[in-house]
Symmetry: C2
DNA sequence: CTCCGTTATGTCCATTCGGGAATAACGAAG
DNA sequence: CTTCGTTATTCCCGAATGGACATAACGGAG
């Protein structure tokens, strides 16, 4: 029963750009949240099963694309240093979540019919 | 003036799945429309600047994922054969466009503020 | 000064993706 | 049967992606 019930679904991916370059996406925001909790890029990366390299690149890309520091990182110091999500970063997280919520609501409203690809009756 | 005005924007990508596998996306629907006009996969591919191979693979994937033939292709015959978008395919195009329209509307409604990342005032 | 864990950066490599080209299959028209 | 342009299929390769690893830089604590 490959199509026994109705396993059709709508998927939406939302992201925020500035000057045409990506600033926030689902993965980036998730990373922001992990950094916020861990106060460390490497710890966040580990927790997400992502390489530190990639996490760091994402942070760079985010900061540059946003034009403001969303994550403030510093090497050295007690514990080796660490990273923190700035006030702008916090705001970015809130903003993105509200966007996702809006589109999720739309997704509910436009729910697909049981048979999305039933050809409409001939109108002649 | 890297951020002189307000070059922030929201981007949304919508796609339709069945049983967890992608059926329709922006590129696939565009391909459907080109095939519908050209009545040929290869012509559609040329027009889109895409290799015939990729176009053909997309058609296969679409047909299989949908569980119904969205494109009916036949080799041989006068003119070498050709391809046509079925009634189900036509319906798929309509469906996808309506989805995109809905999400575009939401995108308008949730338009970003001029300074998306202005930190909210301290509430203490 | 030494130690430590994190940030910062470079190099190498497996995987994926899709283009390009080559080839066969096909079937109606002539 | 031959011709013709399209569909169908395979093989090879370049680019991009991102993981794994190695190494330096950093700076507070002791």
């Amino acid at each position: 029963m490959a199509s026994g019930k109705s396993d059709w679904g709508i998927k939406v991916r939302v992201w925020v750009e500035r000057a045409g370059v990506k600033v926030l996406g689902p993965g980036r925001v998730e990373l922001l949240e992990h950094i916020d909790r861990q106060r460390s890029i490497s710890a966040a990366a580990r927790q997400m099963g992502m390489s530190y390299r990639r996490a760091w690149e994402l942070v760079q890309a985010m900061n540059e694309a946003a034009g403001v520091e969303l994550v403030e990182a510093k090497p050295g110091g007690s514990g080796g240093g660490g990273a923190a999500v700035t006030a702008h970063g916090q705001e970015a997280i809130r903003l993105y979540h509200s966007l996702v919520a809006s589109f999720a609501k739309t997704s509910q409203d436009v729910a697909l019919p049981a048979e999305p690809l039933a050809a409409p009756p001939d109108t002649t």
